[in-house]
């Protein structure tokens, strides 16, 4: 029997480092073999601030994953995030040589390169160049132009770029543990691969992954990625707000957020209090539930408003047919759906990984959505390198990018 192919997805998050080991079964479906996890240190707002500590976290998470999955990890796919990451849409164009007339892979590469002939800041590197649509001689909506006849090939791309050294730092963390990085993927792109099915992508959907340090969001319209964004605001900010507003230590605020946190401002009874027990170095106190909820509500509402503002700037929000999918640790907050629905005026759901097999506790937990998404993305890329389909060229291009990183 051929040995199962293993794919490992690694998410270096602000709250936790998480490694998912998955195998591709003969029928092409994914099965999660095990999940390794460690609490993050040295990572703030999705970016490395203490290299040694972060490396240790990656080492712990990978060791944990190896043990749980009973497998040896030699290479991973890694997700990246950070407030420095930016995106835009651009169209590339290339002329097909007269003597040929038939579009081949070189033309696809040319059109992609021409779309990337945009000036990005010198210190930035391209993370993704994702195809939206091809146009052959102005014929709209071509999915795969290879083999078609035409004089002119155009294509719309969604291009994501970020500060090169910051991405390299994430990668160095992994290579320092003697594990290869196959490629990098933007957090939101990874999350979307598991929380959305093809139908939802076609209908149009917004995915918001509200993590500890960052909120990654992405808009699918008509089956293609229309917009991506990263906002360096996350659950840590809520904790920080609570800590400042109620004058309690960060650790207590974090606990309070997880146990009692809610953004329903009307749900608290007048004068209802939560008693915090005294503890070593903490004298204990009573906090008003309505105050707690207001603090959280203000932050969450603002977060949605910022994202909504940015999305409406770049996309037609009416074309988002299937609504908003929330994922990431923060989407477990009580009442968050109502706030989101109020801001976006769209149906809102929390979503965890779909279409994967494995321990239910893993794929139903939105905290793991990104890491599982990385695996799913890796699988997609794996397939497309052999059978170039809708995502044509992406895997190869990213591979090229990554070689550039490996020269570090």
């Amino acid at each position: 029997m051929a040995k199962d192919r293993l794919l490992i997805g690694l998410e270096i998050g602000t709250t936790k480092v998480c490694a998912v080991v998955a195998e591709i079964r003969p029928d092409g479906s994914l099965r999660i073999r095990g999940v390794g996890e460690s609490k993050s240190a040295g990572i703030r707002k999705g970016e490395i601030v203490d290299f040694a500590k972060a490396t240790q976290c990656v080492r712990d998470a990978l060791a944990d994953a190896e043990e749980k999955a009973d497998a040896e990890i030699s290479s991973v796919w890694a997700s990246v995030t950070g407030g420095h990451i930016q995106s835009f849409n651009n169209r590339g164009m290339t002329q097909i040589p007269q003597d040929r007339g038939e579009i081949d892979e070189d033309d696809i590469r040319d059109v992609e390169n021409s779309a990337r002939e945009v000036n990005i800041p010198d210190q930035n590197a391209f993370i993704h160049t994702m195809i939206q649509h091809y146009f052959v001689d102005n014929q709209d909506g071509v999915l795969n132009p290879i083999g078609m006849l035409g004089n002119k090939l155009e294509a719309d791309f969604h291009i994501v770029h970020g500060i090169k050294t910051r991405i390299q730092n994430t990668l160095r963390c992994i290579s320092d543990v003697d594990v290869d990085v196959e490629d990098v993927v933007l957090n939101s792109v990874a999350s979307a691969q598991v929380v959305l099915d093809q139908h939802q992508k076609d209908l149009g959907a917004i995915v918001m992954d509200i993590g500890g340090g960052t909120t990654d969001y992405l808009v699918y319209e008509g089956g293609v990625i229309r917009h991506t964004g990263v906002l360096a605001i996350g659950g840590d900010h809520i904790t920080n707000d609570i800590s400042i507003g109620l004058r309690i230590p960060i650790a207590k605020a974090e606990r309070l957020k997880i146990d009692e946190g809610s953004c329903e401002i009307d749900s608290a009874m007048p004068g209802e209090t939560i008693i915090l027990k005294n503890d070593l170095g903490f004298s204990g106190c009573e906090v008003e539930r309505s105050v707690l909820n207001r603090i959280i509500y203000a932050r969450i509402r603002e977060l949605f408003e910022l994202v909504e503002k940015d999305i409406t700037l770049h996309c037609e929000i009416n074309l988002v047919g299937s609504g908003v999918m929330l994922t990431g640790g923060c989407c477990q907050l009580t009442g968050i759906h109502e706030v989101a629905a109020d801001v976006f005026q769209l149906p809102v759901r929390s979503a965890a990984a779909q279409e994967v097999a494995g321990p239910t506790s893993v794929f139903q937990n939105p905290q793991y959505a990104t890491a599982i998404g990385v695996v799913k993305y890796a699988q997609l890329m794996d397939v497309t390198t052999e059978r170039r389909t809708l995502f044509g060229g992406l895997g190869r291009r990213l591979g090229g990018l990554f070689k550039a990183f490996r020269i570090i």
Binding site: V49, D122, L231, A298, E302
Partner: protein
């Protein structure tokens, strides 16, 4: 329009009255217009020179001069440098009268077309004969404008380099480094104009600054002997406790200077400008930071100016010359840093305005509902959180404690600034929401 506050152009020095800025060609006239509107004409002579009478009549500059009345009949040079040169030669006597008595002549224009490419070398020569120190500040065309323009620009640059004492260039292709990828055309050009205007303003301040350590024209002239001319120029502003180091570092790390080193330059003029709060140790720190980039043989000329309009800002400018390396110019703006934490909400222009020294302008924010310290905390320069800065800015003790609480655990992390608001500060505080 280029927003240069009047205060950046220091008044009242005898040197500045002997300075004249000549804008040549359409680009040069536009720059002179912008400087005029910003009020620079009060202390410096600004002259617009062009072959195109329409462009001149639209100019707001007080002194206008049409060259080539016979050659081009006021119709412009049509992109032909030969015509531009002929036009200038025809008006030689008048041009000589204009630059007569000027100690420092700054020529600006966009190379690649006809007028600036042709006339600028001629005017530089005329000014040189009048014993003025001639500094040319020119832009080079975009590479997509074609090879012909590029060649005309290179030839013109070569000629100017021979005639002027120093040439500071800005390649339009470098615009990508100061503007965002999808920024509007107007924004992009405005950012490039801003760079040039700031270079000019910094040059004027360098020549005119009043303070304990002065650089006079007499000091500059031997630095930039005609013929052996190359100039590297960088200027940057910084605030906060570590401002001296930051300003030097920014100037040296600027996108234009990054690939090139100062070490081959024999003469380096280093100009530090700050309010009277400037301390000796800051000058020392800045000089040390700069000296690390210089070779053992290069000579450092230090100039220090005191300008009390600057509040907490320290501006460091580096002008280096005297080597056989290709010339280039550098003005560093904090644009890259702002790109990193303001995803597409802020145009780089918002941060380009960092340089203006008044603290109110430094901070592109809604100021009415924020305390002074909150404002201070969210300004684009992340160094501003240092203790020393707070000492000089805090009005009273209470706001200091509010400040340290306001960002909590994010106190020492890179701020998340969107639309000018520091999102690390709790939302309910920023929105003044009542909790109880």
């Amino acid at each position: 329009m280029i927003p240069i506050p009047r205060s950046t152009l220091t008044a009242g020095s005898d040197l500045s009255s002997a300075t004249c800025i000549i804008g040549i060609g359409n680009a040069g006239v536009a720059l002179v217009d912008a400087l005029t509107l910003a009020g620079a004409a009060d202390h410096t002579r600004l002259i617009a020179v062009n072959t195109d009478s329409v462009s001149l009549s639209a100019s707001v500059s007080k002194e206008k001069f049409l060259i080539g009345q016979q050659t081009t009949r006021g119709l412009g040079s049509g992109g032909d440098p030969e015509l531009g040169a002929q036009a200038a030669e025809e008006a030689e006597a008048e041009l000589a009268a204009i630059v007569d008595g000027a100690g420092l002549v700054i020529l600006c224009g966009g190379l690649g077309g006809g007028t600036a490419s042709g006339a600028a070398p001629v005017i530089a020569e005329i000014a040189g004969r009048a014993n003025a120190l001639v500094i040319a500040v020119v832009t080079l065309p975009f590479s997509f404008e074609g090879k012909r323009r590029a060649r005309q620009a290179t030839d013109a640059l070569h000629d100017i380099t021979r005639a002027a004492n120093a040439v500071i260039t800005f390649e339009n292709d470098r615009m990508s480094e100061i503007a965002q990828p999808m920024a509007g055309l107007h924004e992009t050009f405005a950012a490039s104009d801003q760079i040039l205007a700031d270079s000019l303003a910094a040059l004027l301040r360098l020549a005119a600054g009043a303070g304990p350590l002065r650089i006079t024209l007499a000091d500059l002239i031997p630095l930039f002997r005609p013929g052996s001319v190359t100039a590297r120029f960088g200027t940057a502003a910084a605030q906060g406790g570590n401002r001296a180091n930051q300003a030097v570092e920014r100037a040296l790390k600027s996108p234009l200077l990054r690939d090139r080193h100062l070490s081959p330059c024999e003469h380096v003029v280093f100009h530090v400008e700050a309010s009277s709060s400037l301390r000796f140790v800051e000058v020392e720190t800045a000089c040390r930071a700069l000296s690390a980039q210089l070779s053992d043989t290069s000579q450092l000329h230090l100039a220090v100016s005191i300008n009390d309009d600057l509040a907490d800002t320290l501006i460091a400018s580096v002008l280096a010359g005297g080597s056989s390396v290709p010339c280039d110019a550098v003005v560093y703006r904090d644009a890259q840093e702002s790109i990193s934490h303001t995803p597409r909400d802020d145009s780089p222009l918002a941060t380009v305005e960092n340089l203006p020294p008044s603290p109110v302008e430094v901070i592109p924010q809604k100021s009415e509902n924020r305390t002074a310290d909150e404002l201070f905390n969210t300004e684009p320069f992340s160094v501003a959180k240092d203790g020393q800065a707070r000492r000089t800015n805090k009005p009273k003790q209470e706001t200091l404690s509010l400040d340290s609480i306001a960002r909590g655990r994010f106190e020492h992390s890179e701020p998340t600034i969107v639309g000018g608001e520091d999102l690390d500060v709790p939302t309910y505080l920023r929105q003044k929401m009542k909790l109880r």
